[in-house]
Amino acid sequence: MNAIIISAVWGVIMMFCSFLVKNRGSYRHIAAFGLLTLLVANIMNSKGILLFDIDDHNMFQFNSFGLYFNSIAIFSTLVYVLLTGKEMEKYGKYTAEYFTLIFFVLCGVAVLSAYNNMLMLFLGIEILSIPLYILTGSDKKNLKSNEAALKYFLMGAFFTGIMLMGIALVYGGTGTFNLEVVRSTAKANGSSALSFLEVAGLIFVFVAMAFKVSAAPFHFWTPDVYDGAPTVFTSFMATVVKAAGFIAFLRLCEIKVIETGVAVDKVFGINWQLLFAVLIVATLLVGNITAVFQQSVKRMLAYSSIAQAGFMLFALFSLNDLAREGILIYAVAYSLATIGIFAILVKMKDFTFEGFNGLAKKQPVLAAACTIFLLSLAGIPLTAGFFAKYYMLASVIKTGSYLWLVILAVLFAAVSVYYYFRVIQAMYFKDGDALTEEVTPSFKTGLILLSGLIILVGVMPTLVLNYLYF
């Protein structure tokens, strides 16, 4: 609860800053400070110290997992703000408002990491999405930004409708919006255990969630929106928001899939795994294959984020302890690496692969850091990305079935190496003068620290995970 309230409040504070504080440069410091407090508050929450005594009437179900993810999300946002917060000042004069919206998004993230009721899921998703529509369109004079915002908004609204239809059907089937359905008479006498309405509804809800985490075939908005949105906001969308979507999705599945599966697999023989297998295959295919041919690094990263989503879906597929841990590691590894890459990308004058030619000569630090981030995304050992993928594969192999899925995933991972390494080749082995904006030493230090963190997690993933069990 701490995080939800404080993020909302701090959002309001930022709002007031927009006319109380004249110096636009200081906004991001205030925001950073706010994020720190948020982080502290959230950690206090996970240690059981509640700042606010509120009876949420079982709307929320705070557990260490959700709270821990929340801290991760806040931390990533902090890193994000510190590395690229400055860039926001490029887009109009509404810097403070942007921070406001980011805080609201974090509020949505906090909701999604703890919701226990379809209504909260719905609200959380909306609180997550609406600010993003705006951030996407924040570069108002830029037609690409407009287009992205429009597409994002229309499709987002459409899938809000789909999700609501799903929720309605689930309600029809269960008579409640709570996630845990206390099936009083249900479990006893088989078939009445759950109505097919609930199953159908769940499919709709899953589809809507799949849309939010940009899993194929509901990914179509992703490349265009990520490409059109101002790069600095793309970075945020692609990392924190997407991870939050996965946490919400995972929470939904852990409760719904498991109980419905258990309740009725004799009755309908429900096999949610098949559904997710389809999503995974489609996502990996689209993400990896399409990324191969991209000419713009930014768009390539958009597709790569789809591909990564394909890997994260494994957690929903296998739904075991490894999956839970894995999605956390994945959130850390993927978010940090992507934030880092985008931080470098916004410094580039030219977003095409050629734009990176010879970066290693002009900006060795940037190139080295970028390489580490890319290696992490590609899942090379000694980087966090390896353990992210490791956990995902392990969770599936542990279930013992669908090994072909793992092999397929691995082959696609090899494909992903193709497009990640194109950047490395451009930076190191091709000649050219990569044009960058001026790079401050502090920025470089930030990058170095970030890459150090990634390698540390890559060697000692347990450092991240152990907190989960405090």
Binding site: G11, H57, G92, I130, F196
Partner: protein, 167 residues
């Protein structure tokens, strides 16, 4: 076949007809008007179902506020039948067919839900739709979501300003 059933059929027919008209009418303004008709029909259903509060809110918020907002925008852009962009017929047919497929999916889902066949929606009776009941629940159990939705509104407000404001 008592009056409520007749009303049900009439309202349903109206709602469907109006909804279809929303699609087919060339002029955006007409679409808006037809949509309002749909909302009225649905509000009628609410009343049939004895959900007066929602019926009123539906009229005030949707028909009253939202649709008017739509009208403003359309007027402001003075869109009309001529300016209306048209998809080629193939796309239209495909769109309709796809909608039909989704309908098929939904209906078959509904029909395969065996436990629904025996159930009915009670009309005219029941007081859960009354404002005091709703209010009680809203401000006890649903206080938190209610507050949180304020965040939603704030962000929407900020957004509207950021996006809409000329600079």
């Amino acid at each position: 076949m008592d009056i409520t059933q007749i009303l049900f059929w009439i309202l349903s027919a109206l709602a469907l007809f109006a909804a279809i008209m929303v699609l087919v009418s060339k002029n955006p303004v007409h679409s808006v008007l037809w949509l309002i008709v749909v909302f009225f029909a649905i509000s009628g259903h609410y009343i049939l179902l004895n959900a007066q509060f929602l019926a009123i809110v539906n009229l005030i918020v949707y028909a009253g506020a939202i649709m008017v907002l739509f009208l403003f925008v359309i007027m402001l852009m003075n869109l009309n039948a001529e300016a209306e962009p048209q998809k080629n017929n193939w796309m239209k047919i495909i769109g309709v067919v796809t909608g039909g497929l989704l309908l098929w999916v939904l209906v078959s889902a509904v029909r395969s839900a065996a436990d629904m066949s025996s159930r009915t929606a009670t009309l005219k009776t029941g007081d859960i739709g009354l404002i005091q009941n709703l209010g009680k629940v809203l401000f006890n159990d649903y206080a938190v979501p209610f507050e949180i939705s304020s965040v939603l509104f704030l962000s929407a407000m900020v957004g509207a300003v950021v996006i809409g404001k000329k600079d």
